[in-house]
């Protein structure tokens, strides 16, 4: 699904990613754990094409196509979705309007017909109820005055509506209470199937009580220093990250 080779990136001449190698096959869930400042969120942003960061070397390929130089929206249209850590508010633009614009852009790119309003509403309402959100959520301005939980649920709503091939979850578990965390995890599990992939970025293990990853990577100072299975998560939980620093 995605193949990252020796990826290096910096912001304002400060190197953050120092040679990332990562491959996520179709149908797998991978987790990247690491301390604050290790470069995890930078990786999520660079994958999505955020131009605040400078790519200094290496490559990112999706389904065999090099996307390293591709624009943000084209990556999205290829099926890349980023669940934002801090989703930004856009006052006056309703959730429904925004979602339809995103869906239409995707359908147009895929050469499909636009989803009609009736089907759109029916699909959205079903997901909303699963997320424990009221239908009126669609009328609210995106992320404007949303609580922390609502912001993350809004991201999951978009994930389920747009149904991408690769979902990158950037600290989606931060700032959530247990109930919201469960709801979000349920949404991710519902999204997941054999034909798509998930990359979870976190520095807690609590989300992993609900979502079972296939591979766990540990990131320290811009590099993936160790990869393994769930036992790695428990080791980090018990002993911290220090033992992994060479």
């Amino acid at each position: 699904m995605i193949k990252i080779k020796n990826l290096k990136a910096s912001i304002e001449d400060k190197a953050i990613l120092k040679g990332i190698n990562l491959e996520i096959p179709k149908g797998e869930i991978h987790v990247i754990m690491g301390r604050n400042g290790s470069g995890k969120s930078t990786l999520a942003n660079v994958i999505a094409g955020n131009e605040t960061y400078e790519v200094d070397g290496g490559s990112i390929a999706m389904n065999g196509n090099d996307i390293t130089e591709m624009s943000i929206e084209n990556r999205a249209l290829q099926g890349l979705f980023l669940c934002f850590q801090y989703p930004v508010a856009i006052p006056g633009v309703s959730m429904a309007y925004f979602l339809r614009a995103a869906l239409n852009a995707k359908n147009k790119h895929d050469g499909e017909e636009e989803m009609d309003a009736v089907k759109f509403l029916a699909t959205a309402k079903k997901i909303l109820s699963e997320l424990g959100l009221d239908d009126s959520f669609l009328k609210r301005s995106i992320n404007d005055g949303f609580s922390g939980g609502e912001k993350k649920k809004s991201e999951i709503l978009q994930l389920l509506m747009l149904n991408p091939q690769l979902a990158v979850l950037d600290e989606t578990d931060s700032g959530l209470d247990v109930d919201a965390l469960r709801t979000v995890a349920k949404g991710v599990n519902e999204f997941k199937n054999d034909n798509n992939s998930v990359l979870i970025i976190t520095h807690y293990q609590r989300l992993l009580e609900y979502i079972k990853p296939d591979v766990v990577h540990i990131m320290i100072d811009g590099k993936i220093v160790k990869s393994g299975d769930m036992t790695l998560v428990h080791e980090v939980e018990k002993n911290g990250y220090s033992w992994l620093v060479k």
């Binding site: 605040t52 943000i72 929206e73 930004v88 856009i90 633009v93 614009a101 852009a105």
Partner: protein
């Protein structure tokens, strides 16, 4: 990222103004210059009664003693008032029938998307077309007359309804009110006149389309709308002009009178030529607009979408004299390239339980400068007056500016005032968010800006809300920052 955005902004600045063409027609045009003789000649040409000529001359006398105002946050080359021509009109036979209007003029309006042919018009919208100094056609007059509604050019009103004109002309904006109003009072050449009789709800939207065509000519139109007791009218004006290297002056006056229980809704879509990207040429839009709610429960609502003009100086205001009367001002002002806008409103509360609302949205792109200037005055006897003001600015790029000058003067302790103001830029983070969902830059900018203007667009009549939205989209295309 910044450099790339700057390039995109710069490319926007090259965007062509769609309405910048000129129409080649025969005209009657006065020699440049202004004195009593010119005013008398204008008045005679229009077959005006003596009282109106006297009114003009009095205004001219006071104008000569006045100084051009300099308090606005705008910078422009001074106007040489003696170098302007004060009258330019197409030569054609004045008649009621559209068949007699010069086909070139009809074609001009067609090109602007305004059909003067009643059958082809948007249903339910009557149009008065003002070309340079004169009204060339007014549609649906007969239909409106069935309801007792008078909708005609100002010149016709002077001849056909002198008692109404004499009673109301200058009753809201005295001829000595300010420099540009005084000039307009002396030399105004035409405009629209509306009278809605008691308890009549005007059956269609009324609109005036102003077109400046001639060079070196000032356009000085005057609009007077009277809504008698219990009546209701919605009126819209649109404006365009050719692209020229010289600045052209447009100094209009609009007076609104809403009697007891009457409502006037006045909307403007102003798209005068704004000058080129170096700031050369463009219209000086120096306009005085004011309405009075004379009776109880009267309501006046101004909505404006200002995208054109090199310099805008405009403060549509409401005097709330009647108890429970209401004043509203909804504004979207866009400045790009080197455009400057100093615009806002004055809300004057005289009656008890009067209520005013101000929603102002300023959008600055390129090197545009956008100023909101608003005054709210609560007089001594205006018990329980309420005002809500919200002034938001959005900046696109890093070379533009937004300024807010709210003036508040409260003389009654029961008044309730609320003021909110925000300034923000279209953030890289907002654009990144939209792009990440597959929405391209242009669509993202238009989505964000339309969201920002939502409350104002909601006030426009339906057909024009769509037009306003498109106008903003075209204006800001590729202007990411």
């Amino acid at each position: 990222m910044i450099d790339k955005n700057q390039q995109i902004i710069d490319s926007t600045l090259d965007q062509e103004y769609k309405y910048g063409f000129t129409t080649d027609i025969e005209t009657t045009t006065f020699e440049p210059g202004l004195d009593e003789g010119v005013i008398t000649k204008l008045s005679k040409l229009k077959k005006e009664p003596q009282w109106l000529l006297d009114w003009r001359l009095k205004a001219y006398e006071s104008w000569k003693k006045m100084e051009e105002p300099t308090w606005a946050q705008v910078d422009y080359t001074p106007v040489d008032y003696q170098a302007l021509s004060y009258y330019s009109a197409p030569k054609y036979k004045q008649n009621d029938s559209l068949d007699d209007v010069d086909p070139d003029i009809i074609e001009t309006y067609n090109k602007l998307g305004i059909s003067l042919n009643e059958q082809k018009r948007l249903e339910g919208v009557a149009v008065d077309a003002v070309f340079d100094s004169v009204s060339v056609a007014t549609t649906f007059k007969k239909e409106l007359a069935k309801h007792g509604v008078i909708f005609c050019s100002f010149s016709e009103a002077v001849i056909d309804h002198p008692e109404l004109v004499k009673k109301y002309l200058g009753s809201v904006i005295p001829s000595t009110d300010n420099y540009f109003a005084a000039l307009n009072s002396a030399v105004f050449s035409d405009g629209s006149f509306v009278y809605i009789p008691k308890n009549v709800r005007c059956p269609m939207e009324l609109s005036t389309y102003f077109r400046i065509n001639a060079a070196n000519t000032g356009q000085f139109e005057r609009t007077l709308i009277i809504a008698d007791e219990g009546s209701h009218v919605s009126y819209l004006e649109g404006c365009t002009a050719p692209m020229r290297d010289e600045n052209q002056l447009h100094a209009a006056c609009v007076e609104l009178v809403a009697h007891k229980d009457a409502t006037i809704k006045y909307s403007t879509i102003q798209n005068w030529y704004a000058g080129d990207k170096e700031g050369k040429g463009g219209i000086y839009n120096f306009v005085t607009k004011r309405g009075i709610c004379t009776g109880d429960r009267a309501k006046i609502s101004w909505t404006q979408v200002e995208t054109g003009s090199a310099v805008t100086w405009k403060y549509p205001s409401v005097i709330m004299q009647g108890d429970h009367s209401v004043g509203e001002f909804y504004s979207v002002a866009v400045t790009k390239n080197k455009q400057q806008a100093d615009t806002g409103t004055k809300m004057i509360h005289i009656g008890k339980n009067t209520k005013s609302t101000i929603i102002s949205k300023g959008i600055s792109a390129g090197e545009g400068q956008n100023t909101y200037r608003g005054g709210v005055k609560i007089l001594k006897n205006a018990d329980n007056a309420r005002n809500f003001s919200q002034c938001d600015s959005i900046l696109i790029g890093n070379k533009c500016g937004a300024h807010t000058f709210p003036y508040i003067d409260v003389k009654n302790p029961t008044a309730k005032m609320e003021h909110e103001a925000t300034t923000s830029s279209i953030g890289e983070d907002q654009l990144f968010y939209c792009n990440q969902r597959g929405i391209n830059l242009d669509d993202a900018v238009s989505m964000i800006v339309n969201g920002f203007c939502k409350e104002v667009f909601a006030e426009l009549p339906m057909e024009f809300a769509v037009e306003a939205k498109q106008l903003i989209e075209v204006t800001l295309e590729n202007s990411v920052g």
